[in-house]
Point group: C2
Chain length 251, copies 2
């Protein structure tokens, strides 16, 4: 399974979901690889990989470096990652004239020795996003429970549809994860209800609450399950891991 | 003054700042134009312009439609806007082979009959972002008071520097606005202190608190000063408007 964590809307919890899902899946014995294809490199930061230690990463892989040479340990058993190298910010322009430019990541991930590969995407629809969606088998869309969240959601669903028809017939919408749900904010429930009407059973049962411990964990370079396992955010992400695994084994 | 509201990090309050700043400046008698160059079209939504009413907008202007034909009233005296038309999502690919593609917006805004033009940018560094930064005289960077916010901040400052050296010598960093400050979250103060160390006097005195009334106002298609003028978010944005005007008149 290769899962792209995508939504072109910014700040909806893509990185927070990708990193905590990766940690939870590894803890259940899966061999997991996390790929940071966002030039901002927030997933790399969330695992404590400093900016000056990212020299061979996702950009190098797109240009032909073997995956194993760009893969790093995260300090978590069963979880490796490919960080966002500094050159990733310029990949858009550099890859334009490269052969089979949309397929670079898919080709690099063939026969990769992992059960699950997660890809953290940037908040945009660019060639990097395209590479991830061509390589992926499924897309998980975090949806923030705030106003404007549903606004652009058809952009990502239309993009998934367009890529399925043209470059990647296997690609499917794995599910929609409601994030930053705040009981005190009545907009949260409105957005959640709208999302369930629009996406039906594709919306995961698990809802991720707004919880500052999630940000704090990132500032310490650790997944929330290690930082504060009893916090509402950690409990919710554990439930999400179980749901993703349960859906994965379904035909 | 042409002010680009920019930060490639997603969900930091670009649209919320652009729309509320525009409304506050118009209320003080300035003739204001707001341009939505984000394909998500959140600024267009925040002024109640429905998706099916955006047919001539920013994309049409980039391809040569006169500005006046794409400009709409917002229902607020002194404030017009150019919405994000549906084709904007494809602009990246379409503009690649167009003459002087980075200068399209700058040329379209020459002699525009406004005192202040604000541009709401998408969370990425693409040709649309480039067009806005080439057209702008200043950049206002909203910085969310949460972890990861300072992570990629050098990307936008490096981009501004690169554009000033090559395509737009006038471009300057107008200032950094701290947003979503939450007194109950000690990360907020850490990020604010870091930002002041890094940017010094460029950080506006006004800090925008986290306030759910800001989202609610957007869901009603109105700026917060009309929706709930006494709310903490509305009061803060009024103070920001005064600070922006005071800085503008300084040499
Ligand atoms: N459930 C949550 N509760 C509270 N804060 C959260 C939650 N999820 C994410 N955050 C915080 O919100 C901010 C945005 O989250 P994150 O960076 O994961 O979003 P993203 O979609 O990856 O952003 P981008 O579009 O820039 O890639 C971060 O500061 C993060 O710490
Ligand atoms: N000060 C605030 N307090 C509470 N919520 C806020 C505040 N500012 C913005 N929001 C909410 O946070 C979300 C993100 O804000 P906004 O859309 O303005 O960010 P953005 O930087 O424009 O996002 P994008 O990167 O997708 O363009 C929205 O749902 C908005 O309603
Ligand atoms: Mg992210
Ligand atoms: Mg926006």
């Amino acid at each position: 399974m290769i899962l792209a964590i995508a939504n072109q809307k910014g700040g909806v919890g893509k990185t927070t979901t990708a990193t905590n899902l990766a940690a939870g899946l590894a803890a259940r014995g899966q061999r997991v690889l996390l790929i940071d294809i966002d030039p901002q490199g927030n997933a790399s930061t969330a695992f404590g990989i400093h900016r000056n230690e990212r020299s061979k990463g996702t950009y190098a892989v797109l240009l032909g470096t073997p995956l194993a040479q760009a893969t790093r340990p995260t300090g978590i058993k069963g979880l490796d990652m490919v960080p966002a190298d500094p050159d990733l910010a310029g990949a858009e322009i550099e890859l334009i004239n490269v052969e089979r430019r949309e397929f670079r990541l898919r080709e690099a991930l063939q026969d990769a020795p992992y059960d699950i590969i997660l890809i953290d995407l940037p908040p945009s629809l660019t060639l990097l996003t395209l590479n991830a969606l061509v390589a992926a088998t499924g897309v998980l869309v975090p949806l923030q429970c705030e106003f404007l969240a549903l606004e652009g959601i058809t952009q990502i669903t239309r993009t998934i549809e367009a890529i399925r028809r043209s470059l990647n017939p296997k690609l499917r919408l794995e599910g929609v994860v409601l994030t930053m749900y705040d009981r005190r904010n009545n907009l949260s429930e409105l957005v959640a209800a709208d999302a369930r009407t629009f996406f039906n059973a594709k919306v995961f049962e698990t809802v991720i609450p707004r919880s500052v411990r999630l940000s704090e964990a990132q500032s310490h370079g650790r997944p929330v399950r290690d930082y504060d396992p009893k916090s509402p955010g950690a409990v919710a992400y554990e439930a999400l891991v179980d749901e993703v695994l349960a859906r994965e084994t379904l035909p």
